[in-house]
Amino acid sequence: MYIEDPNLRVPERTPETNVFWDAANEESLLYAKCSDCNKPHYYPRKVCPFCFSTSINFLKASGRANIYAFSLFSKGRPPYISAWVMLEEGVAIITNIIDCESDALEIGTPLQVVFCSVEGGQKVPVFTPRPVESAIK
């Protein structure tokens, strides 16, 4: 099945995550990383869920990722692909995979971030298969 429209919903912003969504509007995908224990985490918070440090940096991700797990949710209206994707930076995030043939996907498939506008103009990061020549070295 070809998956085109992910039917994304408007994200709920909080004072904690405004920076993430502002960056998304600039087509930057941010991820959170603790500057004390050096572990990246998802979803982004201002307190490290590994060590409780409040020294969290929101860093720009390359946008390259691989499929960690995915599922074609046929019952979705319209059907969509739910996924955990592993960013090149070593943190897995929940997203959708769009503009692809669902049968062509497998765990490990290289992906690239793309941004879709939702109602009201907010951009939301999702992923699409990446051409093989630009695969992670």
Binding site: P6, L8, E12, T14, T17, Y43, L72, W84, I94
Partner: protein, 403 residues
């Protein structure tokens, strides 16, 4: 209010000696699967009445009450008022569908602490009548994760489906092996007159059912049903006074699981920790267990739990569940002999209470003769609810028949 205080004082006097042995003395599953003309509170009341009748107790004997998020109102407040219960202890811990199993442990500890003597646990709902998907429960904007899940409609079925996909990827588990879990449940459900899906199904039929969320088929998913159930946990003095088989709570553990992104692992659940805690407290091992009721929201839920409970090595679950190994009278480990959530009942999108009830039936020797496990003296009721790939709750109760 004064009357209430006097009642509490009298109770404390009556059972001044705290008992170490705590028992499940009542268990009742509502026979309905479609409650169009009943309210949720009414269902809670009906299962409470049923459990009291089963135990041989009356309303006034209840001095502890436990419920979770399926009970309408803030915590236990509204439902306590609705039921008109006069209790000295209440608890509304909510860790998803496994809450009632965890609450058996909470009731045990509250009774041991002398806070109550007869604890009622209810769970009920009518999602089938209300036509609400379980996924709706996870989409509240105030939850801290919502901004990063709601936009993607990160729903319940894909959550479990991705765990199944990872298990297949990491350990070679197959859809056929998962299908055996449903087949076993259907073998049992054919003997349950209240089962929503009483028909026997084959592995081929599971695989031929439509994909709901790849790789899970329709028949890998539990039913949506109205109804509920209740259990009553009591101190030794009360249990001794009743003319019912003695089902002792031997150990209970609970745990919460989640991922923080860089530590993702979709093939191990919080049952690993709830089971460890329960087996430690009970001082028994999985080899001693004669029967298992385990949460079966999806087939993969059963497979992960069986591994995490320690019935087989991590990754071997697919081989373990295949070829009828979970069918009573056929396999090594009879599982969900009432038909479970996959074939019989998953009231309020929460199956925890039904896991306790069928375990009690088995230990009492009151399961259907066609599925009753021989000399069933030690059994496990296990819950695993929430979003399996993300935040989820687990609870494991080890119950024993005392002769």
């Amino acid at each position: 209010m004064l009357t209430h205080l006097i009642c509490v004082v009298l109770r404390e006097r009556k059972f001044l000696k705290m008992s170490d042995n705590i028992f499940i003395v009542g268990a009742y599953e509502h026979p309905t699967r479609l409650a169009t003309n009943k309210s949720v509170a009414q269902l809670h009341a009906e299962v409470a009445i049923g459990a009291l009748e089963d135990a041989g107790l009356s309303k006034g004997d209840i001095d502890g009450f436990f419920c979770a998020g399926d009970a309408p109102g803030i915590g236990p407040l509204s439902i306590l008022e609705y039921l008109g219960l006069d209790v000295s202890y209440s608890d509304s811990t909510d860790i998803g569908g496994s809450s009632p199993v965890a609450q058996v442990g909470h009731a045990m500890r509250a009774i041991r602490d002398g806070k109550c003597n007869v604890a009622l646990i209810t769970s009920a709902g009518r999602p089938r009548s209300e036509a609400g998907g379980a996924g709706d429960l996870t989409e509240r904007p105030e939850y801290p994760e919502s901004g990063f899940e709601v936009p993607y409609r990160a729903a319940l079925a894909p959550s479990y489906a991705m765990c199944a996909q990872r298990h297949m990827h990491e350990f070679g588990t197959t859809s056929e092996q998962l299908a055996w879990i449903k087949v076993a449940s259907s073998h049992h459900a054919q003997h349950n007159p209240n089962a929503l899906l009483p028909n026997l199904v084959t592995v081929e039929e599971v695989l031929a059912s439509p994909l709901i969320s790849s790789p899970l088929h329709r028949l890998d998913c539990c039913v949506i049903s109205d109804g509920g159930g209740a259990v009553i946990v009591a101190c030794q003095e009360v249990a001794k006074s009743l003319n019912r088989p003695k089902i002792r709570v031997r150990g209970v553990g609970e745990a919460v699981g989640y991922t923080r992104g860089s530590d993702i692992n979709l093939t191990t659940s919080a049952v690993r920790h709830s089971a460890k805690s329960a087996f430690l407290e009970a001082n028994v091992t999985p080899e001693d267990i004669k029967y298992l009721s385990t949460y079966d929201s999806f087939t993969i839920t059963v497979l992960l739990a069986i591994e995490d409970l320690g019935f087989c090595e991590k990754g071997q679950g697919g081989r373990f569940v295949a070829d009828g190994n979970l069918i009573s009278g056929v396999g090594r480990l009879p599982v969900n002999t009432d038909g479970g959530g996959l074939s019989s009942n998953h009231p309020a999108h929460r199956g925890g209470i039904t896991k306790i009830i069928e375990t009690v039936r088995q230990l009492r020797g009151e399961a259907h003769p066609a599925v009753q496990v021989n000399s069933c003296d030690l059994a496990v009721a296990n819950g695993l609810g929430g979003m399996l790939d993300r935040r989820h709750g687990a609870a494991t109760a080890i119950l024993e028949r005392i002769s």
